[in-house]
C-alpha cells in the first residue's frame, strides 16, 4: 500500500522565490482541477494565494478563513496532498517547483471548492463527550489542581487544539471507517478524562470505546505528524486505550464478584 501522503519534496525550502517569479496553482473544483497563475511574493502564505485568486481572478472561488494568524482553525486544506493550516504555511516551504495543488480537506464532505462541511467533525466531538460535565450538584468550592500534577500535565499536552480538522483529514482510519471518532475528538476526550473536576467519566469512557472509538486507532501517527499545533493525539488515544481497558477490567471484576444478579455473595 502506498503512503497516503507524499513525502516532503527534497527541494523544500523556505527561501522566497526571485522577484517576478510566478506560481501555478491547481485548485480542485467541480470534480476536476482549475489552474490559476499568481505572482510569487515575499513571505507569501498559501492562504494569501487563495485570497488573491478569489479577489483578483475568480470571485466565485469558495474557501474558508477567519483569523489569518493560526488561532481559529478555519483555513485548513490539502496542500500538495498533505493537510495543512494554510494561513501559517509559507508557499516557499511547500511549493513543488513553481506549482501548488490545493484540494478540500480529506474525509469531510465538500460544500464548494475548498470549503468543507465540518458538521461530521464536530458531531463526533459531541459524540465523544467533548464537553465538560460538572455533575448534578455544583461543586462547593474551587477545585485545587496542581500545575505539576500528572493529570494537569496530560491536559496541558492536548488542550491547545484549534479544531482545524488537519488530523481528521490525515487519519487513514477515518477514511476506512467513517464512524471512527477521529483524533481531535478523542484528544479532547482525553483532556477531559484528566480533568479532576469532571463528573461524566463513565459515560465518556463508554462513548470513546467500541468500533468507533479509541481501540480502532492503528497508531499510524499521521495525526501527530500533521498537527499544526504540534499536539500528539496518538498519545492521547493511547491514554484512552489504557483508561477504557482499566474501566472494563474494573467492571468485569465487579460483575464477577457480585454475580450476574448484581448482589454480592454472602
Amino acid at each position: 500500500m502506498n503512503a497516503p501522503f507524499p513525502a516532503p519534496s527534497p527541494t523544500e525550502s523556505t527561501v522566497d522565490a526571485a522577484p517576478g517569479a510566478m506560481l501555478t496553482v491547481r485548485i480542485r473544483r467541480d470534480g476536476g482541477f482549475q489552474a490559476f497563475t499568481v505572482a510569487r511574493r515575499p513571505a507569501q502564505t498559501v492562504l494569501d494565494v487563495v485570497t488573491e485568486i478569489q479577489r483578483e481572478q475568480d470571485p466565485t472561488l469558495a474557501y474558508r478563513f477567519a483569523c489569518r494568524v493560526g488561532m481559529c482553525g478555519s483555513c485548513a486544506m490539502m496542500v500538495n496532498g498533505r493537510p495543512r493550516w494554510t494561513c501559517r504555511t509559507r508557499v516557499a516551504a511547500v511549493a513543488e517547483g513553481d506549482g501548488l495543488t490545493l484540494e478540500p480537506l480529506r474525509n469531510l464532505p465538500v460544500v464548494k471548492d475548498l470549503a468543507v462541511d465540518m458538521e461530521p467533525f464536530f458531531a463526533k466531538w459531541t459524540a465523544a463527550h467533548g464537553a465538560f460535565e460538572p455533575g448534578a450538584v455544583p461543586a462547593d468550592d474551587f477545585a485545587v489542581v496542581a500545575p505539576e500534577s500528572p493529570e494537569r500535565r496530560a491536559v496541558d499536552a492536548g488542550i491547545e487544539c484549534i479544531n482545524c480538522g488537519v488530523c481528521y483529514a490525515a487519519c487513514d482510519v477515518v477514511a476506512w471507517n467513517p464512524d471512527y471518532l477521529g483524533p481531535a475528538a478523542l484528544n479532547r476526550a482525553w483532556t477531559l478524562v484528566n480533568d479532576v473536576r469532571d463528573r461524566g467519566q463513565d459515560a465518556r469512557l463508554a462513548a470513546v470505546s467500541g468500533d468507533a472509538g479509541c481501540q480502532s486507532c492503528h497508531t499510524h501517527m499521521s495525526c501527530t505528524e500533521h498537527c499544526p499545533k504540534a499536539l500528539a493525539p496518538t498519545f492521547a488515544i493511547a491514554g484512552l486505550k489504557r483508561a477504557t481497558a482499566r474501566a472494563a477490567l474494573k467492571r468485569f471484576g465487579a460483575q464477577a464478584f457480585r454475580g450476574p444478579s448484581g448482589r454480592r455473595p454472602s
Binding site: W176, N177, D211, Q215, A245, A247, L249, F252
Partner: protein
C-alpha cells in the same frame, strides 16, 4: 472493538509472541539432523507438557486472529453487525477445533 476484545487481543498477542518463539526454536532444533514422523511422534506422544503448550498456543491464536480479522473486514468491506460477529465466532471455533485436534492427534498417536 470493545475494550474487552482489545484486552483479549493484546493479552493473546503476548502469549503468541512467546509461543511462536518457542515453536520456531523447536523447529530449528528438531530439523538440525533431518526430520522424520517417528522423531516427531517420539517427542509428542504422551507428552503432557507438549499438549499443554500447544493447547495454550491454539486457544490464544483462536482468540487473537478473529479479533484482528474482524477489524480488517470492518475497515475494508461494508460488512458489519451480528453476521460479522457470528462469522468471526465461527472462525474462532474452527481454528480452535482444527488446532486442538492436531495437537491431540500427535499426543495420542
Amino acid at each position: 472493538m470493545s475494550p474487552m476484545l482489545y484486552l483479549a487481543q493484546r493479552g493473546t498477542a503476548v502469549i503468541l509472541a512467546m509461543a511462536v518463539a518457542v515453536h520456531l526454536g523447536t523447529i530449528l532444533y528438531a530439523v538440525r539432523g533431518g526430520l522424520t514422523a517417528g522423531e516427531i511422534l517420539g517427542r509428542t506422544q504422551g507428552n503432557g507438557a507438549f499438549l499443554a503448550f500447544y493447547g495454550i498456543f491454539v486457544v490464544a491464536a483462536a482468540i487473537h486472529a478473529p479479533i484482528g480479522l474482524r477489524s480488517i473486514l470492518r475497515e475494508w468491506t461494508p460488512w458489519r453487525g451480528r453476521s460479522l460477529d457470528g462469522a468471526m465466532l465461527a472462525v474462532s471455533a474452527l481454528l480452535a477445533v482444527l488446532g486442538l485436534r492436531a495437537a491431540l492427534a500427535v499426543y495420542l498417536a
